[in-house]
């Protein structure tokens, strides 16, 4: 009884904010989130059209194209890093597993949440889950199930950190025993739904600009999720190492350099493979004439400026050991992935229409709200659980 009271008091105390409240980040994000919540209320009260610029011809906009499709690509780091650490046994990257999995998990929770905002009849969202009516031949059915299962797998992968935070020793032992199974399951799910997000657009054959449409969209989405995810890991790691400096042990601070160099090499390699695939698809599609059009220049900008250039930067900074340039390359890569996903889902979608879709400011605010809410929760967890910091001594002994 006493024990439970103690846990209750512990949880209550953990709910309170730690650290300064009036930081610039809080001051900027808090009003935006309040505004975003108000807009979400309007959206549920008056319909999706009251806050978005979506139309009958363009039914999916920023909320799907950016929040879900791009967000999930950036969350790909979790399956790549768990693959490297638990499957390839590359111990060097062990110190970044937890933060990457946490990032991935929160990304899925919030982006799946963003999906709910975009559903016209969200109360029916359980239909494909409870077996009320299974649309087996729908790619979206596959993606929806994978989101759900992958969130569970990631929660299991992360759960030892929660157990350590709560001091639950026996539970931690059970949970960490499930890690490998969760990782294998999670990677399998990831390969399918990262590509599945691309496969969603296969039936929109006549609506997507031919430079971005091919039957290989699923493969492209899968391969690019590898370097999208790793660039996010580099980017997030660089910020976390400053913001949460005191949380990270001396040893892990020193290891960061080696990790960044290793990730840089992997990014350069996968980006080369990706570029080569894109080149093959382009040559196979025989779209030479389209290159000399505005959309063609846009395509070249994406392929050269945001694939070839960061690929080269990754490679060069890896050879020369320039950490700063790796960060630049990661940011360029992330911009490139955003550009690519938006080109398929928004910019190249119905590129030939007289009235183009441009997201309303309200769609942007809601997107920012989702993003900031995720960062707030991320920070809350980092400040409490052993994610960046080392696990308690008893947990290390348990292995």
């Amino acid at each position: 009884m006493n024990n439970e009271l103690a846990i209750g008091r512990f949880l209550l105390s953990e709910l309170k904010p730690k650290g300064k409240i009036l930081t610039p980040f809080n001051v900027i994000t808090f009003p935006i989130m309040i505004l975003g919540l108000a807009l979400i209320a309007i959206r549920f009260y008056k319909g999706i059209g009251s806050v978005t610029n979506l139309s009958q011809e363009i039914p999916w906009g920023l909320w799907i194209g950016f929040d879900v499709v791009t967000g999930v690509a950036f969350a790909g780091g979790a399956y790549v890093i768990t693959f490297m650490v638990y499957i390839l046994n590359m111990k060097k990257y062990h110190s970044i597993v937890r933060v990457t999995v946490l990032n991935g998990f929160l990304a899925y929770v919030f982006y799946a949440g963003a999906l709910l905002l975009d559903l016209g009849r969200p109360w029916n969202v359980i239909n494909p889950i409870i077996g009320n009516s299974f649309g087996f031949n729908s790619v979206l059915f596959l993606v929806a199930w994978h989101f759900l299962l992958y969130m569970i797998a990631q929660l299991i992968e992360f759960s030892p950190a929660i157990a350590e935070w709560l001091g639950a020793r026996r539970i931690r032992k059970i949970l960490s025993g499930m890690t490998l199974a969760a990782v294998i399951f999670g990677i399998t799910l990831s390969t399918l739904h990262q590509s599945g997000l691309g496969a969603l657009y296969l039936m929109a054959k006549d609506k997507i600009h031919p430079l971005w449409y091919s039957q290989f969209i699923p493969v492209m989405f899968l391969v690019s999720s590898i370097f999208a995810g790793l660039s996010m890991v580099i980017f997030e790691g660089s910020i976390s190492h400053r913001v949460f400096f005191s949380k990270i042990s001396e040893k892990n601070h020193l290891a960061q350099r080696g990790i960044l160099l290793g990730l840089s090499k992997i990014c350069a390699g996968t980006m080369f493979a990706y570029f080569f695939l894109q080149l093959l698809v382009f040559l196979h599609g025989k779209h030479w004439a389209l290159l000399n059009t505005p959309m063609g220049y846009w395509y070249l900008l994406e392929m050269v400026g945001f694939v070839l250039v960061p690929m080269f930067l990754f490679y060069r900074s890896y050879r020369r050991g320039q950490i700063g340039m790796i960060r630049v390359a990661a940011i360029l890569t992330m911009l490139g992935v955003i550009l690519n996903r938006l080109n398929v889902t928004v910019i190249g979608f119905r590129w030939d229409m007289a009235v183009r879709y441009v997201p309303s400011w309200m769609e942007v605010v809601v997107t920012l709200t989702v993003l900031f809410a995720e960062i707030w929760i991320f920070r809350w967890v980092i400040n409490r659980m052993p994610v960046l910091s080392d696990p308690p001594a008893w947990a290390t002994d348990q292995k």
Binding site: Y45, G47, G49, S55, I184, I187, M203
Partner: protein, 288 residues
């Protein structure tokens, strides 16, 4: 490496399962082709553009009354207030009218897209929508090559609107409201097979009147609504670049790969994990 045999067995199972599933799916497609879907033949040479079908459709489906002719400017599309529209086109052979509504594809992209089976190809042929199942994701709208499903963007309880070929009327033995009321016999209801032979008959009897093409015979894998026209169909705003295969066939390859990935990838991952487990050099391998 004891894993090899297990891995091999898994590969065997996976291959077997994939083959079995692949065959099943093929068989299923074939059986849907055997069903006699009902459809409607629209003859643009007979349509006088009276737009009576718009009024009949609105009445049969409880939709607002269409606007009078004098208020109409330019080309209109179907939307959440109307399931069909008749547009006027200036063509190489003068004014020609074209009625637009859901094409009721043999293998509809919208139904394949729907993860709750709210969009559904009935055995009779009409493609219908079920509000109790739909979650409003609008993937049907993204997928439909004819841009037919329409969404109520300004409602807290939005519905998807599209022509249902008056499925409720068909079930009671009646014919679609627009067909029933058309004064010029521009519309004819029947099984798809009957309609195709009727269309061919009209073309061969009056080859000068029609272009030698039945729109919907092969477009998007075949549609329930079929069109005859005196002018090439692109002059009537119909897309002539649609593929001849059904749109769901575009995602089949991906979906068929799912079971094999589910069996092969875990086996492979476990194999690699076992192989790299006791490799002490791994820890420093990446440092160069």
């Amino acid at each position: 490496m004891g894993i090899d045999r297990r891995g091999f067995l898994k590969v065997l199972c996976a291959t077997g399962a994939t083959l079995a599933i692949g065959r099943d799916a093929k068989a299923a497609t074939k059986s849907t082709n055997d069903v006699e879907f009902r459809g409607v033949l629209y003859d643009a040479t007979r349509c006088k553009g009276c737009r009576g079908c718009e009024y009949d459709c609105a009445e049969a489906n409880g939709l607002p009354e269409p606007p009078p002719a004098r208020e109409i400017t330019g080309l209109r599309k179907t939307d959440e207030t109307r399931n069909t529209v008749v547009n006027e086109y200036s063509t190489s052979k003068g004014t020609v009218f074209l009625k637009t509504q859901c094409m009721h594809c043999n293998e509809p992209a919208c139904a394949a897209a729907c993860l709750t089976r709210a969009m559904h190809k009935t055995r009779m042929g009409p493609v219908t929508w079920d509000g109790d199942k739909c979650m409003g994701c609008r993937y049907c709208m993204v997928s439909c090559p004819f841009d037919i499903p329409k969404f109520e963007y300004h409602s807290a309880n939005p519905k998807i609107h599209k022509c249902t070929m008056c499925y409720e009327r068909l079930k009671t033995g009646e014919i679609p409201a627009c067909v029933y009321n058309c004064p010029n016999e521009a519309l004819q209801y029947g099984t798809r097979r009957e309609l195709l032979s009727e269309a061919r008959k009209r073309i061969s009897e009056k080859p000068d009147l029609y272009v030698d093409h039945i729109y919907g015979e092969h477009e998007a894998g075949g549609t329930g609504w079929l069109y005859l026209s005196p002018v090439p169909f692109n002059e009537l705003g119909l897309s002539t670049t649609l593929q001849k295969d059904s749109y769901p066939s575009l995602t089949k390859g991906f979906l068929y790969s799912v079971p094999s990935v589910f069996v092969l990838v875990p086996a492979l991952l476990l194999g690699i994990q076992q192989a790299t487990k006791s490799n002490p050099s791994n820890a420093e391998k990446e440092d160069e």
